[in-house]
């Protein structure tokens, strides 16, 4: 064990928090600056304290030897001060906390590195911003709280915007904030939030329809329901995007819906407001920010997370192009002129390119539009794919589809072999087209080329061909195993046999996935790895497959979009003992098993680009 005995810089008595490089006492009696690595004798350390260059902790904090050369940071909090609880890290959620200590009224936390600290400080800033916005603006001490938050997160855009609004010297505080943020990526968030905070009660936003559905003025009720319904669904899809842009909104239990406040007489102009009497400031701010985001979407700036979300794009299409004859315009917040709505729906296959063709086992789980559309399920964890039974990508009729029209019960919930073509446009939005479909007869066998990957959702494994044979009325054999399909088949029964088949194909993928002559059809858009896979990837990246738990969480957080709770990590260990284990002699050390390594290595073959993220951890 080594010990942390101080932190860099002064910590005045009237200041709530301090943080900085740690002073680490080494075994040889020398003291090391954990960030720069500079080493000095203890006699010099006392001199530095005397001259105000360093602060000595009341009691040393023991540190495991494994962390000796990490760029550790210490945070000190005065536990007897008001609002100090807002600075306490959530030790179950925040990774990278390697030690903590309470010394009388002082609390100290040691972070493994700057990334861990930055995660923590971001959370503190968001929590303080949310707390301030929930209060009434004339509550005392809000400015003091925001300023205290800036001690931990000095260039946080949210806190600087609040400081401007709460300041009694706004013009100067605004100039100071802009100067501090001028070189930061947060300057646009700052300006956006400031606009939301400053918006007066009457600010509004308009979506205006002309001609087409609005011909003659007004909207038919069922048309209005469709348009507002699409808008409501769009709003719900945009909430996670909004919360990632403005983290303080993550603490809000529900983001309010768009508020339709005005309908202009004899027109189809819909006016949305942001301010409601008697609601806290956070309500107005949230409404303003979500309209601001909608504005950008209608300017053609789709969040990248939604560019291939088919349902979202269909709702957007409904909102922006309800009929070919209808013109849609928007009047942005705080503007007096309308502007065109920009939206290019993905409904023209000629603008997209053929990406891949798969030959896979599936079942049809639904049909609509007089059997012109069917829902095809390829795997228990995959969403159903909707395809046309009328035309392929080349405008011809899919082979076998006419049989669906004649007798849909012949296909519903039964094992079927499909050829599906995937087309992708230049914004990574994709669409599937049915090329052919066939149900097996008794005694018939077919080759299944592609199986849904058990490692990466949406990918398809192309390994040694699997032969599926219908051996009896209800029996099927594949890959040395069998499964049953009830006759007549049922939805629950279909889920069961598909689950069984996916287990067989998962074993097939794990067994053959590291051979040279296998490949995968990647998903159209790669989703972030699951919590478990992140753990496996990080452990697989180490030489010996082992890491201390705080370091594991910290590295996982760096490749994750959301934090991994320490509790979640332990849950993954408990639920997946065949993939990850705890060291028998040291329960802080997590180890990957051989099977876990195989999972990770196969993942890397399918998504090689994540290797770059791993290298940066």
């Amino acid at each position: 064990m080594t010990q942390i005995i101080g932190l860099e810089g002064r910590w005045p008595d009237d200041v709530l928090v301090a943080w900085g490089a740690a002073a680490l006492l080494l075994d040889d009696g020398m003291i090391r600056n954990t960030i720069t690595g500079a080493v000095l004798p203890q006699s010099d350390w006392h001199r530095l304290i005397q001259h105000g260059h360093a602060y000595s902790l009341p009691e040393p904090i023991p540190i495991r030897l494994e962390y000796t050369y990490k760029k550790m940071l210490v945070v000190g909090i005065r536990g007897d001060r008001k609002s100090h609880d807002l600075f306490l890290p959530d030790t179950g959620r925040t990774g990278g906390i390697v030690a903590s200590k309470r010394s009388r009224r002082l609390l100290f936390y040691v972070f493994m590195d700057r990334d861990s600290f930055d995660s923590y400080s971001g959370e503190v800033a968001a929590s303080i911003a949310w707390n301030v916005l929930k209060q009434k603006p004339d509550e005392p001490n809000l400015l003091e709280l925001v300023t205290a938050g800036l001690l931990i997160a000095p260039i946080d855009a949210q806190l600087h915007a609040l400081r401007v609004v709460l300041s009694t010297n706004r013009e100067r505080t605004l100039a100071v904030a802009r100067a501090i943020l001028s070189k930061s990526t947060g300057i646009q968030l700052f300006e956006g939030l400031l606009r939301a905070l400053d918006a007066d009660q009457d600010v509004d936003y308009w979506i205006n329809y002309h001609d087409g559905i609005a011909e003659g003025g007004g909207l038919d009720v069922d048309t209005a329901v469709k348009q507002l319904g699409a808008l409501s669904k769009i709003q719900k899809r945009l909430i996670p995007i909004l919360q990632s842009l403005y983290p303080f909104l993550q603490s809000e239990e529900s983001i309010p819906s768009y508020r339709l406040r005005q309908l202009k007489a004899a027109s189809a102009d819909l006016g949305f407001g942001v301010s409601l009497e008697g609601r806290p400031l956070i309500d107005r701010v949230a409404r303003y920010l979500e309209i601001q985001l909608l504005q950008e979407v209608l300017r053609g700036n789709l969040p990248k997370e939604l560019t291939d979300d088919r349902e979202f794009l269909e709702d957007l299409h409904q909102l922006c192009r309800p009929s070919p004859e209808t013109t849609v315009r928007q009047r942005p917040l705080q503007k007096s002129e309308d502007e065109a709505v920009v939206f290019e729906p993905f409904d023209e296959p000629t603008t997209a390119r053929h990406d891949t063709t798969i030959r896979a086992l599936c079942y049809i789980e639904g049909a609509y539009k007089q059997l012109r559309r069917i829902e095809v399920r390829l795997g228990p964890e995959m969403g159903a794919i909707v395809v046309s039974t009328e035309k392929t990508a080349n405008d011809s009729t899919p082979a076998g589809a006419h049989l669906i029209q004649q007798d849909p019960s012949r296909f519903l919930f039964r094992p079927s072999l499909v050829y599906l073509d995937r087309y992708v446009d230049d914004q990574s939005r994709y669409r599937w087209y049915l090329s052919s479909i066939d149900v097996l007869s008794e005694g018939e066998s077919v080759e299944i080329v592609d199986t849904p990957s058990a490692i990466v959702s949406g990918a398809f494994f192309r390994g040694p061909v699997m032969r599926l044979e219908k051996t009896g009325l209800t029996e099927y054999a594949v890959g040395g195993a069998t499964f049953q399909v009830a006759d007549p088949p049922t939805p629950a029964g279909a889920r069961q046999w598909l689950q069984r088949f996916s287990q067989i194909s998962a074993r097939h993928e794990l067994e053959h996935g590291l051979l040279d002559d296998v490949s995968w059809c990647p998903p159209a858009k790669v989703r972030p790895p699951s919590a478990l896979m992140r753990i496996l990837l990080v452990l697989n990246h180490t030489a010996d497959g082992r890491l201390l738990l705080p370091e594991l969480i910290s590295r996982v957080n760096r490749i994750a979009e959301a934090h991994v709770r320490r509790g979640n990590t332990r849950r993954e260990l408990k639920n997946n003992p065949e993939l990850v284990t705890i060291d028998m002699e040291d329960d802080e050390v997590i180890c990957i098993t051989d099977l876990g390594r195989r999972h990770a290595q196969i993942y890397l073959r399918i998504v090689p680009e994540i290797a770059g993220d791993l290298a940066s951890t």
Binding site: G6, R10, P12, V15, V17, W19, A21, N33, T36, N169
Partner: protein, 236 residues
């Protein structure tokens, strides 16, 4: 060729004192200090402001600025902490003041010669300059091994000597202009609220742009983070 920066570290009670320095110049303390006594003992002609090349001299700091060499006025530089000659750097610390003064003079060159001096010590390859920035002991026993006119003294190989014995020191007589040469600065994060309060209160329209430009160059996290961040910049 590396892009070295000069670092000046100090500590003050009042934030206004920091901004006096940041927006104008650093000056020697008006009263007698240990530094001034060393200058007297070594026969340094004027009281000076001191900087160190690549990193601060102190291993921990409350406040530091990083300065680009180009707009700074000429000064003298030596390949060790001159103040260390008095008490720390062996074997010089056991010499007489006259011998110490002569040694300092022999090892002092104008900052105009910075590029040439760096080529000789520590060297200008990325690896050589990185070793210097990491505070690693030089490969030569002392400056005499590189400059023939310097008296022999094994200050670099002497085992009890530390980074102070091989850091490049710059000495600016009377005043060191900061603002025009400022690249970045930092201070203890606990001082940040006072910095904001000061900045908000600046009402002089001539001073406001200076303060704002200074604020835009702030690096959060303290002196250690400043050094860590600028290490890569200097190696480019």
């Amino acid at each position: 060729m590396p892009n070295p920066l000069w670092f000046h570290a100090f500590s003050r009670e009042a934030i206004t004192d920091y901004f006096d320095v940041l927006c104008t110049s650093a000056r020697p303390a008006p009263h007698m200090t240990t530094t001034k006594q060393c200058e007297l003992d070594l026969g340094v002609a004027s009281t000076s402001v001191y900087c160190y090349l690549g990193r601060t001299l102190e291993e921990f700091g409350d406040f530091a600025v990083a300065l680009r060499p180009t707009p700074l006025p000429d000064a003298m530089m030596t390949p060790f902490d001159s103040g260390g000659l008095i008490a720390n750097i062996r074997p010089i610390c056991s010499w007489s003041n006259v011998e110490k003064s002569a040694y300092l003079t022999a090892c002092s060159w104008s900052t105009v010669e910075l590029r040439n001096l760096l080529q000789q010590y520590p060297g200008i390859t990325p690896e050589e300059f990185r070793r210097y920035l990491d505070g690693e002991r030089p490969l030569h026993p002392g400056p005499h091994a590189l400059w023939g006119t310097v008296p022999e003294a094994m200050i670099w190989s002497e085992i009890s000597n530390t980074w102070r014995a091989w850091a490049w020191e710059g000495r600016w007589a009377n005043e060191l202009p900061i603002h025009a040469a400022l690249v970045a600065w930092s201070c203890a994060p606990a001082r940040y609220a006072s910095i904001l309060a000061y900045a908000d209160a600046v009402s002089d329209p001539a001073l406001q742009p200076l303060v704002d430009r200074t604020l835009s160059l702030y690096v959060p996290g303290g002196v250690a983070h400043l050094l860590d961040r600028l290490k890569q910049e200097q190696l480019r």
